[in-house]
């Protein structure tokens, strides 16, 4: 008989534990607790988000896109550049790829994440004028997540920015950190609000 049978939650019998190391790769409810004992998940999430978006947008051919003689929806026609200015969108695409590379390593993350999300929104709205399906809308989801990563910038502890911040700190503060008794906690607020966002979008579907 285990405690679980009497209504008390038994961690050792949870599915996550029974799956061993595989289970530890599973779902983490960041909304319940946005802190963890290591900042690795936060950095891995940045890598996954950045590479997903690069993989998705790197194939876009804006010259061909703008040569289509009609728009599917005209609501957002005001953000679509004239066909001969296709290179503006191509430049945005390249800058987004560069910004996302810097975002993944965490260099000037507030700026790079904001630049990438702004261009993603613009490219997303332009593509929306031809195809408003789920082929386009994930670009906006990615833009939301990028903003959350920039908004909770101090959570990006495994990043070039964090190394630069640490370099400017005094030796005394390093000593304090090493002598501290309490276990270190690392915020994952971008993943917390990202998870809530995904929840609203997916729950809203049903």
């Amino acid at each position: 008989m285990t405690a679980g049978r009497h209504g008390e939650y038994d961690e050792s019998r949870s599915l996550r534990n029974r799956l061993g190391w595989l289970g530890r790769l599973g779902f983490v409810n960041y909304v319940r607790s946005p802190t963890r004992t290591s900042p690795i998940n936060h950095a891995v999430a940045r890598f996954l988000l950045g590479s997903y978006v690069v993989w998705k947008i790197v194939w876009y051919d804006w010259r061909a896109f703008l040569s289509m003689p009609v728009l599917d929806t005209t609501t957002y026609a005001f953000v679509v550049p004239p066909a001969e200015l296709w290179w503006v969108l191509t430049a945005e695409q390249l800058l987004t790829v560069v910004a996302l590379g810097l975002f993944v390593v965490g260099y000037r993350l507030r700026l790079t994440a904001f630049v990438a999300s702004t261009f993603l929104v613009h490219m997303g709205v332009v593509r929306f004028t031809q195809n408003g399906s789920g082929a386009t809308t994930p670009l906006f989801l990615a833009a939301y997540l990028l903003v959350f990563f920039a908004l909770y910038d101090r959570d990006n502890e495994l990043s070039v920015d964090a190394v630069r911040r640490t370099a400017s700190q005094s030796l005394a503060s390093l000593n304090d950190h090493l002598k501290a008794d309490e276990p270190s906690t690392h915020g994952h607020h971008a993943l917390k609000w990202g998870l809530l966002t995904m929840g609203i979008v997916y729950f809203g579907a049903g």
């Binding site: 609501t75 953000v79 507030r110």
Partner: protein, 247 residues
């Protein structure tokens, strides 16, 4: 299509509720969201800024989700509440080869990664555009279709494993042996009527006919059937027609 959402429940349409505000809100939401996000990121260390931004964000996202009014960059995925009528009308673009064979138009032909929303383009060609616009669009689609076919036959399959996977389940030309078709000479748009049984589990009738045809070279010279296009009703779909639904 019918959506369960607050607007339907309270019996109001977006236009009735927001009226002339819709175009203003469209611009303000799009530009405002970028500006507000930038300000919030810049002033994130001031007390209350992050909390206020997240609250505003969740409010906007929840609003579009509950009302199904899209104000980009906020969007909603209303998939499951969308029901299909017992009598459904759909439209499809097909490319015609020199022997009169038809092939479902690959929506990725005009431009890379998911391309146009072909079902929607087909519907507007059948119901909205005038002849002149239709001819312009069809000429464009035919031209791009020919170019894309060359790409696919030359080695499009080689890059497919590393390309971003296409959205939706329809069968693109890279999964069809396009070499068995002759030269592409025209574009046609089909109107297709489906009737399902009461349980919605089976299609009881399926009829389709051509509502628009674009054949720049003389059709009879190319060996295409010369009977009036509007009379032609083919019950069995040509090879490679849509087997999935793109939402």
């Amino acid at each position: 299509m019918y959506h369960y959402n607050i607007m339907v429940l309270i019996g109001l349409s977006a236009v009735e509720l927001l009226g002339p505000l819709v175009p203003v809100l469209t611009v303000v939401t799009l530009l405002g969201s970028v500006v507000v996000a930038g300000l919030a990121i810049h002033y994130q260390d001031r007390p209350g800024v992050r909390k206020a931004f997240v609250l505003l964000f969740v409010f906007c996202l929840l609003s579009v989700t509950l009302t199904d009014l899209h104000f980009l960059p906020f969007f909603a995925w209303h998939k499951f509440p969308a029901t299909v009528d017992a009598d459904e009308v759909r439209y499809q673009i097909r490319v015609v080869d020199d022997a009169g064979r038809e092939l479902n138009y690959d929506r990725q032909a005009p431009f890379a990664n998911d391309g146009i929303k072909a079902t929607s383009t087909a519907k507007r060609m059948a119901t909205v555009y005038d002849q002149e616009t239709n001819d312009e669009v069809a000429a464009y689609l035919l031209e791009r279709g020919r170019e894309y076919r060359v790409t696919v036959e030359r080695g499009g399959r080689f890059l497919r494993p590393v390309r971003f996977p296409p959205h939706g389940l329809d069968v693109g030309w890279d999964r069809i042996d396009t070499t068995q078709y002759g030269e592409f000479v025209g574009i046609c748009v089909y109107e297709m009527h489906y009737a399902t049984n009461e349980a919605g589990t089976d299609i009881v009738s399926h009829e389709e006919w051509v509502v628009y045809e674009y054949l720049p070279a003389s059709a009879s010279e190319r060996g295409r059937a010369t009977d009036d296009a509007a009379d032609r009703v083919s019950a069995d779909a040509a090879a490679g027609t849509t087997r999935g639904v793109v939402a």
